[in-house]
């Protein structure tokens, strides 16, 4: 009898482990729920530009500042 119990326990553990490592959670089965954790288009995590401190931006005080900034990005126009 005790052997039978042990066998049952082992089987439960194996089956449980199978589900655990296969990611068998509700979100994946729902499908669209899995998208909730995906980044938005363009790799954006949904943050607003207003949350970014101004120190992260480029200074555009003088004409040289503006010309330099254009030079920095112009190669990206393709």
């Amino acid at each position: 009898m005790s052997k039978l119990i042990w066998i049952i326990v082992v089987i439960v553990l194996i089956v449980g482990g199978f589900f655990l490592f296969s990611g068998g959670d509700d979100d994946a089965e729902v499908g669209s729920g899995g998208d909730i954790d995906q980044p938005l288009d363009g790799g954006d995590t949904g943050e607003s530009i207003d949350d970014i401190p101004e120190s992260e931006f480029s200074n555009l005080d003088t004409s040289d500042d503006v010309f330099d900034e254009i030079d920095n990005v112009i190669d990206e126009i393709g």
């Binding site: 363009g42 943050e47 530009i49 931006f57 004409s63 010309f67 254009i70 112009i74």
Partner: protein
């Protein structure tokens, strides 16, 4: 003990006296020299101010002449783009384009509606300065990142184009302010703005960097060769 203290006090007084004196028996002459140096530099400063005033007066006269030249037809009915630009610059910030008027660069664009919408989204940014202005530009063109390099590769080329348009518009605004302040010759300013409009047209119509970059270099050379007061 008392004698040592007295010696110390005397010595200290001597050091203090030495440190506080000019040590120069001709100090009166030095001050005279300083006065003569100031007198010599005054005419030079006056010359610079006089030249600046002369140039400013010339710029004012030129603006008046341009306004008179086009007073009968109005700026918007002038055939040449550069002359239209010159006319608007001469009229100054008080000039109000007719409603429905399309910006010069947008007239060159295959999609003028989209171009006008871009201008509308950017116009409130030009009253700002420095990094605040940059943040405003990037918000207006729909960015959520501070750096264009962080934008997704498939989106980046169009966002960069919109951003460069905003920056070129900023240069144009600077030129217009210089003209209003009589810091630049209106004809030279019109050359610069005309070049800016040309480049905006290239970008709006999808020209590649092999065409846009040389045009930008020409613009920068033109800017540097133009005499702009206190720029």
């Amino acid at each position: 003990m008392f004698f040592a203290l007295a010696l110390l006090v005397v010595f200290s007084i001597g050091v203090y006296a030495a440190g506080s004196s000019t040590g120069n028996p001709d100090s009166v002459i030095d001050s005279d020299d300083d006065a003569s140096n100031v007198a010599d530099s005054a005419p030079a400063a006056n010359d610079v101010a006089s030249e600046r005033a002369t140039r400013k007066a010339a710029h004012v006269r030129r603006k008046t002449a341009i306004k008179e030249q086009y007073s009968d037809v109005g700026c918007e009915n002038v055939d040449s783009r550069k002359e239209r630009i010159k006319c608007r610059l001469a009229e100054g910030e008080g000039y109000g384009a007719p409603s429905g008027n399309i910006p010069e660069a947008c007239r060159l664009s295959d999609n003028s509606g989209k171009c006008v919408a871009l201008y509308s989204s950017l116009k409130n940014c030009y009253d700002l300065e420095g990094k605040t202005k940059d943040k405003c530009f990037k918000r207006a063109i729909g960015l959520r990142k501070a750096r264009l390099s962080d934008v997704a590769p498939d989106e980046r080329p169009q966002k960069v184009r919109d951003y460069v348009i905003a920056l070129l518009y900023d240069l144009q605004e600077k030129v217009e302010k210089f003209v209003d302040a009589d810091k630049v010759d209106p004809d030279d300013a019109a050359d610069i703005v005309d070049k800016i409009v040309e480049i905006k047209g290239l970008i709006l119509n999808g020209e590649g960097r092999d065409i846009v970059k040389p045009a930008m270099q020409d613009l920068r050379s033109l800017w540097r060769s133009t005499s702009i007061e206190n720029e």
